[in-house]
């Protein structure tokens, strides 16, 4: 038997591009980014301060420099549960690199958190409809990103509102094929219709290892929590670390990136994706 990694891991369902060199993957990313920049009028980069979106931000920045155009703004989704370190990091990097950060927030949902819960009766019509659409039939749900309805309202709906408000036609997103089966069949430029826009995915073939190699090689700013052992960052209540070594020194190949996060649960990501998540 060969020792090559299969294109799709039969057990995990994840797609792994194991043959291409990092340089080749970067070249692909540049083609994808260049195509989107030349065809769309109002591109934004979804940026959480995490390692993947940091790589996309850097690739976009390099491409706009080559083209002599201005840097697209970043879209930061504020679900109200970010680590203090994340907010500081986002602030510092955007100032150092000199680009505009637009915050996408579901203000209606965030202003109606009571005793750790959000109740539909308090929300606006659009939020109530969105909650029903993802199959939520209850009256209240926990203020958390760990449920489909929580993730959808606090992140996806916030993003959809920003897309409408700022008339965004293209969103650069740092998802990868190897993260999750739900992302394994994603394409480089993926048209969406609610609201109409495209998702641009330049680093689909990157593995988690590629992301760290690119980050270290190009000396990108690194969110401080990765050095403390976190592998995947989002809400402060659901991002857990399982190792104290810096993320890039951990055994990335045989342990799971989102261990301990709801996003690791089977089917969860697929449901989120269907309703407009990344």
């Amino acid at each position: 038997m060969s020792n090559e990694a299969p294109a799709v891991n039969a057990l995990s369902g994840r797609r792994i591009e194991g043959g291409l060199s990092l340089d080749a993957k970067v070249a692909i990313a540049n083609v994808v980014i260049g195509d989107a920049l030349s065809r769309f009028k109002r591109p934004f980069v979804v940026w959480s301060g995490g390692k993947d979106s940091m790589v996309v931000l850097h690739l976009v920045r390099e491409e706009v420099k080559r083209r002599g155009i201005s840097m697209p703004p970043a879209l930061f989704v504020d679900h109200g549960m970010h680590f203090e370190e994340t907010l500081q990091f986002v602030d510092k990097v955007s100032k150092d690199w000199g680009f505009q950060v637009v915050v996408a927030r579901n203000d209606d949902a965030l202003s109606h958190v009571k005793d750790g819960k959000i109740c539909l009766q308090d929300l606006d019509e659009d939020n109530r409809r969105e909650a029903r659409e993802v199959g939520f039939n209850g009256d209240c749900f926990d203020y958390s990103l760990e449920s489909v309805v929580g993730n959808h309202l606090l992140k996806t709906v916030a993003m959809k509102r920003a897309i409408r408000r700022y008339r965004i036609d293209a969103l650069f997103v740092g998802i990868r094929w190897d993260e999750n089966p739900a992302r394994s069949w994603e394409v480089f430029i993926s048209p969406r219709d609610d609201p109409p826009h495209v998702r641009v995915h330049p680093i689909l073939p990157f593995t988690e290892r590629n992301v760290w190699d690119y980050t270290l090689k190009n000396k990108l700013p690194i969110h401080p929590l990765y050095a403390k052992g976190y592998r995947s960052l989002d809400g402060k209540f659901d991002s857990k670390k399982v190792d104290d070594r810096p993320a890039w020194e951990q055994d990335l190949e045989s342990t799971r990136e989102r261990m301990g996060r709801a996003q690791d649960k089977e089917g969860f990501m697929e449901t989120l994706r269907r309703y407009g998540y990344m």
């Binding site: 920049l37 769309f40 009028k41 109002r42 591109p43 155009i69 201005s70 697209p72 703004p73 505009q100 637009v102 408000r165 700022y166 008339r167 036609d169 109409p196």
Partner: protein, 466 residues
Amino acid sequence: MADLPDVFLIVLDTLRKDFLPMYGGSTHTPNLEALARDSVVFQNAVAPAPWTVPTHISFISGLYAREHGVHEDEKEGGEHILEQMRAYDGPNLIERLRRKGYNAVGLSANQFMTPGSGFDRFFNVFTGWDYAPMIKTDTSVRQEATKYGTGHTEIVLSLLRRGEFGKLLEYYREYRRSHLSYQKELRAYKERGFPHLKAARQIVDAFTSSSYERPLFAFMNFMEVHEPVTEWEVLQQNAVYEILDLLSGGHVLGEGLMREIREGYKRALEALDAQIGRLLDFLRKSGLYERSLIVVLSDHGQAMKEDGHYPYYGHGAFLYPELIEVPLIVKFPGNYKIRPNEGYQSLTAIPDFIEGVIEGAMRDAVTGEVAVSEAFGSHINLRRWFEGGILPREMEGEAQRIFHSRKVIYKEGYKLVVDGTLGKIEEFKKGQTDVSQVDNREKLEDMLSELELFKGTERFIVPSKR
């Protein structure tokens, strides 16, 4: 399908809101006022562009000019606008309504919205009227003559010197023919008065005498208040004088004439109001009024040499309030009333709004936090006029001022106009008053950021915040 409301999108072309009593004006418009009593009168509507074509495509696409791509630009003016309109295949309200079973009917007196213009292809039936009591001139002879000089004397002398007697005779005949038709037209006005109606009567006649399949989507464009609104403009072939006036900093049209023009505009609006009255009466008598959605608006306003503004008469190029702050009167089905939200009504919201109401959502889907409008210079290609020798070269400097890319943003009571060709702030106002950029720094920075986000990848210089 029977329960879908009929929809009327009525464009009162070139109507600025401040002439209407609902917006503080003093024109006698009893029929529009009666409609307004059954309607919601939106106070902060902003046209996405200061002239007809880009705005009309916004009405059906929900997009701004640079998004839908049908607009003039700094290089070409509006030369290719009809080609662009014919090529447009983006989001389309009328197409979606037709898929819902609507019968889309267009009736228009606008020279850009005619059968064959490209706009007509969205409709089941489209009828156009040539409104203008314009004197037809043999343009090929005139065009030819411009090669020899810019005025009659120069042309005649030049032709004599060259011994071009055939051409001279041709030119004389053309001159005499148009001169005689001017005289004839002038006598007609003296006898019957200036005709303030253009084609509104014919449009209303055509509509009221037809039997349409329902549900109906009716688009109407009335040109009454569009120039020319005085006999002087007609006789002097207003377009040329408009351009001359625009370029000469307003020296051509004197204050006396401007008073006449303002008066003519008012008379035209009154004449139009009477025809709108006939249309509404017809709807009432046929039992269609109550259940219909009637949207009355304008595609842009009209500059009439307002104090402190670039002194010209016409529209396009600039983003002054008289050019882009327009009326928006909405009569919901069942004469339902809503209270408008705080903010601005960008007319790019019209398609979503109409579709929402059809689906039964009686809410303010037209008001948003911000509204934008953009202009890319004049829709007339001035370069061609210079090259044709029609305009004196000395005016080219002024023409540069007109061929600029401009954008305006309205937000939280403030208005910011930027000339993106120079990267210069042209206007910063709170309400109608200029305010200090230093004292309102935070607000100004926020508005500049908004503009930066809006312009996206377009080459448009937003002044730096620091």
